[in-house]
Amino acid sequence: MKLHRAVFLLFIFTGLLFTGAALAQDLGQKILVSHAWVRAMPPSTKNTAAYMTIENQTGGELVLQSANTAAARVVELHKMEQAGNIMKMKQVDTLRIPAGGHLVLEPHSFHLMVIDLLMPLVEGETIPIVLNFAGGSHVTVNAVIRKPGEGS
């Protein structure tokens, strides 16, 4: 009986802890970034692409102006465009995310172009990427280095 109560209390406390943590995160971050990953590439390849989902809970339009990382010399905002069976890549100045909306950076679409890697990318490790938004807010995300089997 005592054990049961202890287990029950433990559950309640764990629940409270998690709710508290989630709440703190929610209040602290109006820009939520999830599923951040960067594509692992062969050692001699100096460029790669980073992908993520950026959720805008700031109440106003969010404009991503630039990004940077300690792992590479340059990070640019790019977009893939498919015209028929031809794929084109274009650099874009900004990425705009409407209030309450989100932007998915994914293969064959928007991505962060990571240029001139300064270190080898080790699968499973992370690289920090700083997202710089208009208005001076910055969000740092840890993008997981992955060698993907692309989603089917």
């Binding site: 594509r39 001699s44 010399r73 031809i86 794929m87 064959h108 172009m113 001139d116 692309e150």
Partner: protein
């Protein structure tokens, strides 16, 4: 009376014949359009380029195998690694049958993609792909035969240039003919299903 019967017989006979003829056309339709499709892409069923190990590649040496042909370049940041990662999943799904499939990657950036670089790049994706290169003229000729397009585009980006290119994966059957074109939207399962038909 007899004449009338004969006439009816003749007319119905003709009707049956017409139906048969029409039917044969209908049955033949998919076949004939497929033949046209095969004729459209490199009807010679052969081409030659240089392999990433320095040997000369001839498509005709791959009779009896299914060749999955793709045009790309090693500094391509998105479309090419996505396609190769996908092909590695397709081959895994095919299991032992995958041994009869040869992935062939033709570079559209021969200046940058040396044989050594192609080899290292392709080995990384675990699809046992063969990298092919050549002079620009040789590559252009092959691209033209497969109606593949590529264009080097200068950009203000720190990349210096990007190459827009066809991202079709060509399924080449045992006789060197193109039987199917895969688009980036095709799922791994769908690709494996189609490839199986030609093994």
């Amino acid at each position: 009376m007899r004449k009338k019967q004969l006439l009816i017989l003749a007319i119905s006979g003709m009707g049956v014949c017409l139906l048969l003829i029409a039917g044969s056309f209908l049955l033949d339709l998919p076949k004939s359009s497929l033949t046209g499709f095969e004729q459209e892409f490199n009807p010679s069923g052969d081409f030659s380029l240089t392999e990433d190990n320095g040997k000369i590649f001839h498509l005709r040496d791959y009779r009896g195998k299914v060749v999955l042909l793709f045009f790309g370049y090693t500094t391509c940041p998105d479309a090419c690694p996505s396609a190769l990662a996908k092909l590695s999943r397709v081959l895994r799904l095919l299991g032992p049958d995958g041994k009869q499939v040869q992935v062939v990657f033709i570079t559209v950036d021969p200046q940058q993609d040396t044989p050594a670089r192609l080899k290292e790049y392709l080995a990384y994706f675990g699809v046992n792909a063969l990298g092919l290169t050549g002079t620009k003229a040789q590559i252009d000729e092959v691209a033209k035969a497969y109606h593949a397009y590529y264009e080097r585009v200068s950009t203000e980006s720190a990349l210096g240039y990007t190459i827009s290119h066809t991202v079709t994966v060509y399924l080449i059957g045992s006789q060197g003919k193109v039987h199917h074109l895969f688009a980036p939207e095709d799922s791994v399962e769908r690709m494996a299903e189609v490839i199986k038909k030609f093994l």
